[in-house]
């Protein structure tokens, strides 16, 4: 009995030690990145989706300049519609709001991530399979338009 407990304890330790690695491997940003002036865009990724379906693009924006900027929207040739959205939770209910701007204060790192801000692409013209690249142009108040490519990552 105590040997089994001991084994279980050791297994728990081993599993616990490997968990962060497991989590980090799932659906996480890729190396795709772009820079224009003071803004650095990293970990640009999208979820797989079928033609006619909806998906979201996520990324991290670092404003390395001394001046604030804002993300105003995006254009995505692959989708009929492409908007800056934010998921909000009120109690158990989630809803999405179209955003006119996402503030990027000087020196700040702002992440668009699942359950928060994202670029929503609706009515995709073709399927997005893992490994595909999605071209889009992000529109900033100060930096202007910056083209990026999001890598489609399996969940």
């Amino acid at each position: 009995m105590s040997r089994r407990k001991g084994l279980a304890f050791i297994s728990c330790l081993v599993i616990a030690a490997t968990l962060p690695a497991c989590n980090a491997a799932g659906g996480q940003p890729t190396e795709a990145s772009a820079a224009a002036g003071d803004l650095r865009l990293t970990g640009v990724w999208a979820r797989p989706a079928g033609a006619g379906e909806t998906t979201a693009v996520y990324l991290t924006i670092t404003n390395e300049g001394a001046q604030g900027d804002a993300l105003l929207g995006a254009s995505c040739p692959i989708a009929a519609m492409c908007e800056l959205h934010e998921t909000r939770a009120e109690g158990d209910v989630v809803h999405m709001e179209h955003q006119d701007r996402l503030e990027l204060p000087a020196g700040a790192e702002v992440s668009l991530e699942p359950g928060g801000a994202h670029i929503m692409l609706m009515d995709l013209q073709s399927e997005l399979a893992p490994g595909d690249l999605v071209s889009l142009v992000l529109r900033f108040e100060v930096a202007g338009e910056i083209p990026v490519e999001a890598e489609v990552v399996a969940p």
């Binding site: 105590s2 799932g26 979201a56 809803h95 999405m96 929503m120 009515d123 969940p155």
Partner: protein, 200 residues
């Protein structure tokens, strides 16, 4: 004389270890999810899965069933939750054979069996996707307290929905035992599901 002290010390250490193990195994398990206390039978339903076959909840006795309500055109919350389902299943390892992950649509107008199948094939084909008519689904949403409100079509690509995003966990006896909020921790969910699978 010196040897006897070593024996006493050794016996003391063994005694302490036995007491620790006994204390550890007598402590009740503390669930991470919100406990439904007292547990009550999960509302039963029969809906149609992604292969067009009927799926009845009460046929799943002896499996732990995890239920999430959403829709395939959902851009963020639903695919994020289904991805967490997949990660939870992977963490469960061989125990996942006695767990069933279920995705019930709140958008039957667009989510046919065929669309559910295409959608889940991209994420995790072991997740059961369920649809039906409004008449089939409305009582299920109501029984699980699912809020669902269609929002104005943002640009001709179809509506988005505000909706409840909890995950419900049904134990092997068919009782609704736990629920988890959106963005749950996969380690916590898998630990709770493992406990429900192993408890008797």
């Amino acid at each position: 004389m010196k040897g006897r002290w070593w024996v006493v010390l050794g016996l003391g250490m063994v005694g302490l270890l036995v007491a620790l193990v006994a204390w550890e195994s007598s402590r009740p398990y503390t669930f991470h999810g919100s406990l439904l206390d007292p547990a009550s039978p999960a509302p039963d339903f029969t809906l149609t899965d992604q292969n067009g076959d009927p799926f009845r909840l009460s046929d799943q006795r002896d499996r732990v069933v995890l239920i999430f309500f959403g829709y395939t055109h959902c851009p963020d919350v639903c695919p994020a939750t289904l991805a967490l389902f997949k990660q939870t299943r992977e963490l469960l390892g061989s125990l996942a054979e006695v767990a069933q992950f279920v995705f019930i649509t709140i958008d039957p107008a667009r989510d046919t069996s065929e669309r559910l199948r295409q959608h889940l094939d991209r994420i995790d084909p072991t997740i059961i996707g369920l649809t039906g008519t409004m008449e089939d689904l409305e009582p299920v949403w109501a029984a699980y307290g699912v809020y669902r409100a269609e929002q104005p079509d943002p640009g001709g690509a179809g509506p988005l929905f505000d909706h409840t995003a909890r995950v419900y966990v049904v134990d092997r006896q068919g009782d609704l035992r736990l629920s988890f909020p959106f963005g749950f921790d996969v380690d916590e969910l898998s630990q709770d599901v493992s406990h429900l699978i192993e408890e008797r």
